[in-house]
Amino acid sequence: MNWVNAVVQGILLGGFYALLACGLSLMFGVMRIINLAHGDLAVLGAFLVWVAVDHTDVSPFLALVPVLGLMYGVGYALQRGLLERSLRAGVLVPLLTTFGLAIVIQNLLLEIFSPDVRSLGGRTGGVTTTSWRISGDLAISKLGVLILAVAITVLGGLHLFLTHAPAGRAMRATAQDVDTAELVGIDSRAVYARAAGISVAVAALAGAFLAIRAAFDPSSGPTQLIFAFEAVVIGGFGSLWGTLVGGIVLGVSQTIGAEIDPQYSILAGHLVFLTVLAVRGRGILGAREAIA
C-alpha cells in the first residue's frame, strides 16, 4: 500500500513540476532560449507573493493576481531589454546572460530577504493541511490536487492559446520560421516579448505554489530550474503535454526513491532523467515541431 501511496503522491508532485516546467518549455519552444534564470524568477515570484501577504494579510491566492501581472511585465521587459540583444549576439550569449541574471537575482534576494527559510503554508487556511483519506495508508492532499488541476489548466490554456487565438498562432508561426512570419506581417519582437512574459508569469505561479506547499529561500532557484528542466527533457522538448508527462515521471521517481530511503528522493529523479537521456534523447513524447 505504501507503494501505491508513493505513486499517488508522485503524480501530485508531478503536477507541480509540470507547472514549473511549462514556462521553460514555452520559452525554448518559441525563442530557442534555455532560460537559466527560470528557477530564480520563480523564487522571485514566491518572494513577491510573500511580501504582499506580509503587508496586507490577504490570502496568497489573492496576492498572486497582481504578482502574476507584475511578473508578466518583468518577463516582457527582460526580453526587450536583455534577451533580445543577446539573441542577436549568437547561440552562447543568451545562456551566459541568463546565467548572469540568475546569479544577480539570487544574491539580490539574499541581500534583501536574508537567507531565512520561509513558507506560505500557514497562510492559506485549510487547503494546505487537509486531505481526503482514501484508506489507512493513502491520503490525497487537497493542495496537491489543486496544483495538479492548475497545471493541467495552464497547459490546456496554453494549448488552446497556441492553436486557436490569433496571438498564439502568431507565436507558433514565429517559432517555426521568424523570417516568413515577419513577411506576413507578424511583429516578432512583440511575439517574443509576450512569450517571455507568459513564461515568467507562469514561473511565478509555480514559485507561489512552491512557497505554499513547501518552503523556500533565496537559494532555492537553481534546484527548481533543474527539476523544471528534467521534467521538460523526460517529457520531450517542444511538447507541452509531454511536460506534464515528464513532470509526473519525475515526481513519481522522486517519491518512489524517497520510499526506499528519504535521502534517495532527488537522486532517483536525477537518475531517471539521465536514463531517459541515455536511452531516448528526445524524451517520451519528444516532437520535432517547435511547439505542439
Binding site: 525554448f28 530557442r32 532560449i33 534555455i34 537559466l36 536583455l82 540583444r85 543577446s86 549576439a89 549568437g90 547561440v91 552562447l92 550569449v93 543568451p94 545562456l95 551566459l96 546572460t97 546565467f99 548572469g100 541574471l101 540568475a102 546569479i103 544577480v104 539570487q106 544574491n107 539580490l108 539574499l110 541581500e111 537553481p222 530550474l225 533543474i226 528542466f229 528534467e230 527533457v233 522538448f237 535521502q263 532527488i266 537522486l267 536525477h270 537518475l271 532523467f273 539521465l274 537521456l277 541515455a278 534523447g281
Partner: protein, 318 residues
Amino acid sequence: MLLVALAFVPVLLGANATQKLTLLFVLVILAAMWNALAGYGGLVSVGQQAYIGLGAYGTIYLANHNVAPYPALLLATVFAGAVGLPVSYLVLRMRGGQFAIATWVVAEVFAIVVSLDKSLGAGTGTSLIELNRYTPDERRAYTYWLALGAMTFLLALLFVLLRSRLGASLQAIRDDEEAAASVGVRVMAGKRILYVVAALGCGAAGAITLSNTLFIQPGSIFGIQWTAYMIFMVLVGGLGTFEGPILGAIILFLVQDWFADRGVWYLVGLGLTAILFALLLPHGLWGALEERFSLRLLPVGYRVRGLPSRARAAEGDA
C-alpha cells in the same frame, strides 16, 4: 623566464604570497578549461564543478586507502578525467542550453552520492589530515609547485591541441557545426576530447584546492559558484582567445582580494559584469586589446572570425 621566476616564489616570498598564487593558478586552470569548452567547442557547461569535486573527493578517498597524499592528488586528477569520458557520451547528446543543464545535473548527482558516503565525511565535510605529516612550509611549497606544474602542463596541452589539426576543426565546429560536419570534420570526437581535457583540468583544480585549503564540503566544492567564477573570468578576459582567460583569472583574483568581504554585492557585481561583457564586449578585454594593437602572444592560429580582414586571413596561414 616567468616560469623559472615563479618556481622560486615559495623560497623567496612568504607563506601568504605562496598560498595566494596557488589560488591564482587554480583560477587560471579553471578559466582555461571553461574557455576550451565554450570558446573552442561551443559548449557552455555549468557543471564543471562535478570534476572539481571529484578531484578533491577522489584525493580524500585515495588518502583514506593509504595512498600517499601527493600521489593521491595526481591519481584523483586522472580519475576525474577518466570519469569525463563516459559522462561525455551522455551529455554530448545535447546541445546549447540543454547541454548546460545536463552537465549541472551530473554535478548534482556526484554531490549527492558523495554526501551520502559517511567515509567521505557526508554532508558536513572532511579534511585531508594525511598532509599533516609535512610542515606547513613544506606543504605550501609542494602544493604551490604542484599547482604551477599543473597549470603549465594544462596550458601547454591546450596550446598543442589548439595548434594541431584538431584546433582548426574545433573552431570550425564552434562557428558552424553542420557546415563543419559536412566537410568531414569529426564533430563528436573533437568535442569529446575537449570535454575530457576539461574534466581532467577541473579535477586538477579541485585536488589542488583541497591541498591548499585542507578542508572541503560537498556543498561548496560541488557548488555552482565555481561556474559563476569561470564564466566571469572567461567573459571578461576574452571568450575564444587563448590569453584572455589568463587575464580574466588575474582580474578575478584581484577582485576577490579587494571585494570578497562585501559578500553578496560582490556576487551581484560579478553577475552584472558578466552580462555586460557578454552583450557589449563579446571577445572580452583581450579580444579588444588584440583588435586594437593586433597583439598575439601565443598564436593558436587558423583563426578567421566573424569579420575576416585580409590581415587576419593571411595570419591564419602563418
